[in-house]
């Protein structure tokens, strides 16, 4: 039986049998459709990518205010487009390993303070020039400039000097950092000719597609770059197109109507309906993004750890995951790290426990209500989640008062200002980045006001530790500390939910970001 299936799937891959016929034959052989589909896509991958055609994506997250300047990229459309026209120094593979791109090799001194990037030969920019060490150095310099407004500035501040010599770029850091290569995989750090210092928004790099049309907030188009240095791995379609569709219903309709081949951000509540549409495949997978309620550890009444613990125990995570995310996510455990990070260690899952919550609440001595600020923009379903929290806490005798804040200005007026509110984090690529961004005493975005000198020391020590086993233990200890003493209530990690239409192949789930970490257009292909 399996031989026959394999034979059939190869025939589909080579275009001799239709997908539908295959599924029919598979069903006749008693194979469930999901398994048959998986078999089919692995056969298609084995058969290799198909060149040609136009791959179109309909994406939310583009505005007419977007720019091609990589330093200013923030939303999904510039991000996904950047992965098509831009080439990175180094990238994370779907398995979380480092994948060298323009850097052929990255090495460090023993103290992890001096790093050497060896630049690959024969990589060409869209303007015909060869990528040099100077270009890479200039790129890093531009993003380290305080005036650049670069989204990567926070990490780049840790770099002391940047020097290009011959084929190498040498970086010295202010403090040791074993994670530097991961930081260099930040999506803002697209290598541009002379670092983009001459014209930051020229849209020229060494990626698989050359920007042909750029109408911010409307559509962007690219044509395959003939001299792309690894054309066998990326750039299969002749052309790519991104159409900005911010309305969720319009986006799904466009996929159903066949006007686009893939979309991002399918709403959890309609996933089950979309699944039934013939030809459409839902691509959901876990990522580091999480939905949270944050308490300021230095503001009354949240400066009392018993009250914080009471609230952590008074939230029904399972219910929230099922009702708000419809199961498209995973349980959170009050620290911001999950299995999508390297060096993750499992810690016992915290559960809803009204009795224990009651105990801690009494011990805290707090009386009266607790004010929770929430808004629809905090995360999709945040208002519903807050109401669920209110009800589950009421069962533990804790009165939560909800205040619904306007979405306009939520990130300026409420988040990181008010002592207790709903929020989200998109996650980072390493544990160090996540903890440095939001849990160091000195971090601008320490939105739980978790200011603990002992914790800061642990972050710095782990950052400089090159021994993986020791580092893993350190991260475990840090996680326990945030979980049991921090101001973070993390009920759930969300999933990326993308969808592809008929004929799209080559999809590989990538835990780092949606749309295969932005590479869906560059790495997928259309079946012949």
């Amino acid at each position: 039986m399996s031989n026959e299936l394999e034979f059939l799937s190869r025939r589909v891959a080579s275009g001799k049998l239709s997908r539908r016929d295959f599924l029919g034959r598979a069903a006749a052989l008693g194979i469930a459709a999901p398994f048959a589909n998986a078999l089919l896509s692995s056969a298609a991958r084995a058969a290799g990518p198909v060149k040609g055609g136009t791959l179109k994506a309909g994406l939310v997250g583009g505005e007419s205010t977007n720019s091609l300047d990589p330093a200013l990229m923030m939303t999904q459309v510039p991000f996904a487009l950047g992965k098509c026209w831009g080439e990175m120094i180094v990238e994370l593979s779907p398995e979380g390993k480092l994948e060298n791109r323009i850097a052929e090799d990255i090495g460090s001194s023993k103290d992890a303070k001096t790093w050497t990037l060896k630049i690959r030969d024969g990589v060409e920019f869209h303007n015909g020039k060869t990528v040099t060490a100077e270009d890479v150095a200039a790129t890093l310099e531009r993003h380290s400039d305080e005036k650049s407004k670069s989204g990567a500035l926070g990490y780049m501040k840790g770099i002391d000097t940047i020097k290009a010599s011959g084929k190498e770029v040498v970086l010295t850091l202010k403090e040791a950092n074993a994670d530097l290569p991961y930081l260099l995989s930040d999506y803002h750090l697209i290598v541009q000719p002379n670092g983009g210092k001459d014209k930051p928004d020229a849209g020229i790099s060494a990626g698989p597609y050359v920007v042909k049309t750029n109408e911010p907030g409307v559509r962007h188009g690219g044509e395959r770059f003939a001299n792309y240095w690894q054309g066998d791995k990326m750039g299969h379609a002749d052309q790519i197109e991104v159409i900005v569709i911010n309305d969720a219903t319009a986006r799904t309709a466009a996929l159903q109507g066949g006007q686009v081949n893939m979309i991002n951000r399918v709403e959890p509540k309609i996933v089950d309906l979309i699944k039934r549409v013939p030809g459409v495949t839902i691509r959901n997978h876990a990522g580091p993004g999480h939905y949270v309620f944050i308490m300021h550890c230095n503001t009354a009444p949240f400066d009392n750890n018993d009250l914080r613990m009471a609230l952590k125990l008074a939230i029904d995570r399972e219910e929230m995951l099922n009702k708000v995310l419809r199961g498209y996510g995973s349980l959170g455990n009050d620290f911001p790290i999950n299995a999508s990070y390297p060096l993750f260690t499992e810690i016992e899952q915290r559960k809803y426990d009204p009795d224990k919550a009651k105990f801690h609440y009494k011990k805290s001595g707090h009386d009266g209500t607790v004010l929770l600020r929430t808004s629809d923009v905090a995360f999709p379903g945040a208002v519903d989640a807050s109401q669920l929290f209110q009800q589950s806490a009421a069962k533990a005798g804790i009165k939560i008062e909800l205040k619904r804040e306007p979405g306009d200005g939520y990130w300026n007026e409420v988040w990181n200002k008010q002592p207790f509110c709903a929020s989200y984090w998109g996650g980072r690529s390493t544990q160090d980045q996540m903890y440095s961004t939001a849990y160091l005493s000195t971090a601008d975005w320490n939105d739980t006001r978790f200011k603990r000198p002992d914790f800061d020391k642990m972050v710095l020590a782990a950052r400089a530790e090159l021994d993986e086993a020791k580092r893993k233990q350190m991260y475990h200890d840090m996680a326990v500390m945030v979980r049991d003493e921090g101001g973070l209530i993390l009920p759930m990690f969300n999933q990326f939910i993308d969808a592809t239409g008929a004929k799209v192949d080559g999809w590989v789930d990538d835990p780092h970001q949606e749309l295969m970490n932005g590479y869906a257009l560059a790495k997928c292909w259309l079946q012949a």
Partner: protein
């Protein structure tokens, strides 16, 4: 044309310009009241105190509001709308193609909607209180009563998803062949037509019915003219002023009020452009778009006024 009429027109235009100035002040004040400033909006969650200060200085946000207002007004009067704060693009250039798209869609929606509405109104009057009248009024009112996003989604569901006759997303771009462009705007234009139809149709019907009560219509009927000829030759010309008014009002709506339809059909017009920049607190763009919308509204109203005057002999030849 006599000079009193020219004077009247000049008066209207002068009033319009004054009104525009007043509106520009209002728009400016409104954008100042919004919470947060443009620097914070641009940087969003990634704002740090240093980057905020840098950006504020760079954008000139530290000047007092009235200085920024006059600075901007001077620019507008010399044809310079400034550059968008958030993307650094020239506003006049980006608005040009957007405005053209909006006008294109509004034009074709109007080409269908106005004759259709007026014809339906005339037919309704001809068969007034009969089943034809009731059917026309009922359908038109129903299509107007549904919110435009609902009509949009229904159209998308049937024409784009189920039957796949027209595209569900109406992205148009420069250099797009005319035929494709028309196909792309088929659904949004239909949605808009359905939205504005009833208002114009009902107004036509009411205006003509009003005239139908008068003595000269009775005379015409007694002369033995057919019902349609009575309406066409005697009633319609006398009812034209209110009809022009409502047509202009709806034309203005087609240009300035189509944000929802633009979002649903992903049409790159002015509405979407405005919304994007409001959320970014991009004050120069919001002001420019607001001013253009106000100008469209005011000039269409002036045209309606003037047309009403010209169409009415009593106003044309005041005693």
């Amino acid at each position: 044309m006599s000079s009193p009429i020219l004077k009247l027109i000049a008066q209207r235009i002068a009033l319009g310009i004054l009104l525009l100035l007043a509106i520009s002040v209002l728009i400016f004040a409104g954008t100042q009241i919004l919470p947060g400033d443009v620097a914070q909006a641009i940087l969003g969650q990634s704002a740090t105190p240093e980057s905020l200060a840098n950006l504020r200085e760079q954008l000139g946000l530290n000047d007092p509001a009235y200085i920024r207002y006059f600075h901007w007004l001077g620019g507008v009067l010399t044809g310079d709308l400034g550059t968008a704060m958030s993307s650094g693009q020239d506003i006049a250039t980006s608005i040009k193609s957007r405005l053209w798209n909006t006008l294109f869609l509004a034009f074709w929606a109007a080409i269908v909607a106005i004759p259709l509405a007026i014809t339906l109104g005339l037919i309704a009057v001809r068969y007034r209180n009969g089943w034809v009248d009731k059917l026309i009024s009922g359908l038109a009112l129903a299509s107007t009563s549904f919110p435009e996003f609902f009509i949009g989604y229904v159209l998308v569901y049937f024409f784009a998803v189920k039957w796949q006759i027209f595209p569900g997303i109406s992205t148009v771009y420069e250099g797009m062949p005319f035929g494709e462009r028309m196909q792309a705007i088929a659904l949004p234009a239909t949605a808009l037509t359905l939205v504005v139809l009833a208002h114009m149709m009902r107004m036509t019907r009411a205006a003509i019915l009003n005239v139908m009560q008068s003595a000269y219509v009775e005379t015409a009927e007694l002369k033995g003219l057919s019902a349609f000829n009575v309406i066409r030759k005697h009633a319609f010309p006398n009812a034209i002023a209110p009809i022009i008014n409502v047509v202009m009002l709806n034309l203005a709506y087609l240009i300035v009020g189509v944000v929802v339809v633009e979002v649903i059909f992903v049409y790159p017009g002015m509405g979407q452009y405005l919304v994007d920049h409001v959320t970014k607190r991009d004050v120069p763009v919001v002001q420019a778009v607001g001013l253009i919308f106000a100008a469209v509204y005011i000039s269409l109203n002036i045209i309606a006024d003037i047309a009403a005057i010209v169409a009415n002999p009593r106003l044309r030849h005041p005693k």
